[in-house]
């Protein structure tokens, strides 16, 4: 237990170290855009597919529950609301943890064990500024965008399965979305996407940057990234859901 708390503390310190470097030093925009492009292109297809099927799965599940009550007319609104607020961000973030997170921690970990990070320090540069910061910003921006893309495609997945599996027409599916999917739902979903993106970026860069022990160490860093990111995302999901609920009650007075 103490090990987990100590690890969490180190990740938080690392996060503030990244922010400190960001505040003090300039960052190469070319390097950052290269990273954003790389991360987005690497994961756009798989994230899109994951989003599409999450929407499809939610539609199937809701159909099975709702058809007995004759409430299939609300299928579009309920399936979309649940996907955007909860299931979509969570599952797509899990997939990104396996893809972007594993890749980044392996890349930085390899640079660490081949002494490239030490070499950067010896050559008068700051490895946090040169390697970690561009990747951190790129992962946050790209993951937020990819999560958004995934959620958008989840609606298409829902529409398609609504038509094919549930017999709910395209128009009918869409008709109830605005009544059930409120602006707060969308904002909650987007807020979660942002938090998950930050969690993913900080954990994978930390694990890669602090890798020790050669090839085995790189493998271990990748595993720790995947496990650590998923567990933290679930906890962050609970915290953000709670915060969103409290905030919305306070703002809307409900």
């Amino acid at each position: 237990m103490m090990g987990v708390i100590s690890d969490a503390g180190k990740v938080v310190i690392f996060f503030f170290r990244i922010l400190g470097v960001w505040k003090r030093k300039s960052i190469s925009s070319q390097l950052m855009f290269e990273q954003i492009w790389k991360v987005t292109m690497q994961s756009a297809l798989t994230t899109g597919m994951a989003g599409f099927f999450v929407g499809a799965i939610m539609t199937i599940q809701f159909t099975m529950q709702m058809k007995d009550f004759g409430a299939l007319g609300y299928l579009g609104g309920l399936a979309t609301s649940t996907t955007i607020r909860e299931v979509g961000p969570l599952l797509i973030a899990f997939m990104l943890a396996g893809k972007v997170g594993a890749f980044t921690s392996a890349e930085l970990g390899t640079m660490r064990v081949t002494e490239q990070i030490d070499a950067i320090r010896c050559l008068g540069a700051d490895p946090i500024q040169e390697l970690v910061l561009p990747r951190f910003i790129a992962i946050v921006i790209s993951s937020f965008f990819l999560l958004g893309l995934g959620l958008l495609l989840s609606i298409f997945g829902g529409i398609l399965l609504g038509e094919v599996f549930s017999g709910v027409s395209f128009e009918e599916y869409l008709r109830h979305i605005p009544t059930i999917v409120s602006l707060p739902s969308i904002l909650t979903g987007l807020f979660k996407c942002f938090i998950f993106a930050v969690v993913l970026a900080v954990i994978c860069t930390y694990r890669g940057y602090t890798t020790t022990g050669g090839a085995k160490g790189v493998g271990l860093a990748v595993v720790k990234t995947a496990v650590g990111t998923m567990v933290t995302i679930v906890i962050a999901d609970w915290v953000t859901s709670l915060l969103a609920d409290i905030t919305l009650r306070a703002v809307l007075g409900t």
Binding site: E115, D118, C122, L123
Partner: protein, 256 residues
């Protein structure tokens, strides 16, 4: 009295409870060449990284040109770091950059030179180490000996006054090893810098060093000049030089 380039005062290093170096005190004079020898796993590379400011000591002081590398920060530390060059054991070349870009990297980071000047200096350094034709190739497209030369060129790009070489001839054939040491000595004679190199090859150590240290049993033994080292009475140094299987170093390693 000659100025101390490096001064270690009662330095100890431990990792997760394992002591690598214990109460080590040493001096390196400006312009001197020191070779560090010793059995594998005794902490030679750690000692080198300690002096280069990459690994902090658990206890004691590391003074580089009179300044404690681990107590200063900001521009003062950066200024000191810029005087240090290092060739890593496995070269640590940036595999996503070409050979030319590897040399240009520190110049872009540290100097205010124009891109044209940086390109010119990169080409000059590549030519100086004999790989001028490899400017646009990536490190994994060139041989081990060429990678070593590239590593040396990159380490020297900022004209450091203190240069650390971590096993510069590791994995190279004897002829290429000889060429690399000749190149290091040639570049040192031009730069008049202080040089500290880890090596397990005694012939290269004799060729390279004014003074030889041996890292063994958490201590660093100053074996003196090349001639003094050859005549040294310490049985551990004698065994290491002769390469005998039986001796104190073998029993220390558990009779392997």
């Amino acid at each position: 009295m000659a100025l101390a380039a490096i001064n270690l005062s009662e330095v100890s290093i431990s990792f997760e409870g394992n002591t690598v170096l214990h109460n080590v005190s040493l001096n390196v004079t400006e312009g001197e060449s020191v070779a560090i020898i010793g059995p594998s796993g005794q902490g030679k590379s750690i000692l080198l990284k300690l002096m280069a400011g990459l690994v902090p000591p658990t206890k004691g002081k590391v003074l580089v040109r009179g300044e404690n590398l681990f107590e200063i920060s900001g521009a003062r530390r950066q200024k000191l770091i810029n005087k240090i060059g290092m060739l890593f054991q496995k070269n640590a070349l940036f595999d996503s950059l070409t050979c030319g870009e590897n040399i240009a990297f520190p110049l872009r980071e540290v100097t205010e030179l124009s891109e044209k000047e940086i390109q010119k200096i990169s080409e000059e350094f590549l030519a100086a180490v004999g790989i001028g034709h490899a400017k646009n190739l990536y490190p994994d497209e060139i041989s081990g000996g060429m990678q070593k030369r590239l590593g040396i060129a990159r380490a020297l790009a900022l004209h450091p006054e203190l240069i650390f070489y971590d096993d510069p001839t590791a994995g190279l054939d004897p002829i290429t090893s000889r060429k690399i040491i000749d190149l290091i000595l040639h570049l040192k004679s031009k730069n008049t810098s202080t040089l500290i190199a880890v090596t397990n090859d005694m012939n290269r150590a004799y060729q390279l060093a004014d003074r030889i240290w041996m890292v063994v049993d958490q201590q660093v033994i100053d074996a003196g000049t090349v001639e003094q080292t050859k005549q040294h009475k310490d049985p551990r140094i004698r065994q290491f030089i002769s390469g005998e299987i039986n001796g104190p170093l073998t029993s220390m390693a558990g009779g392997e």
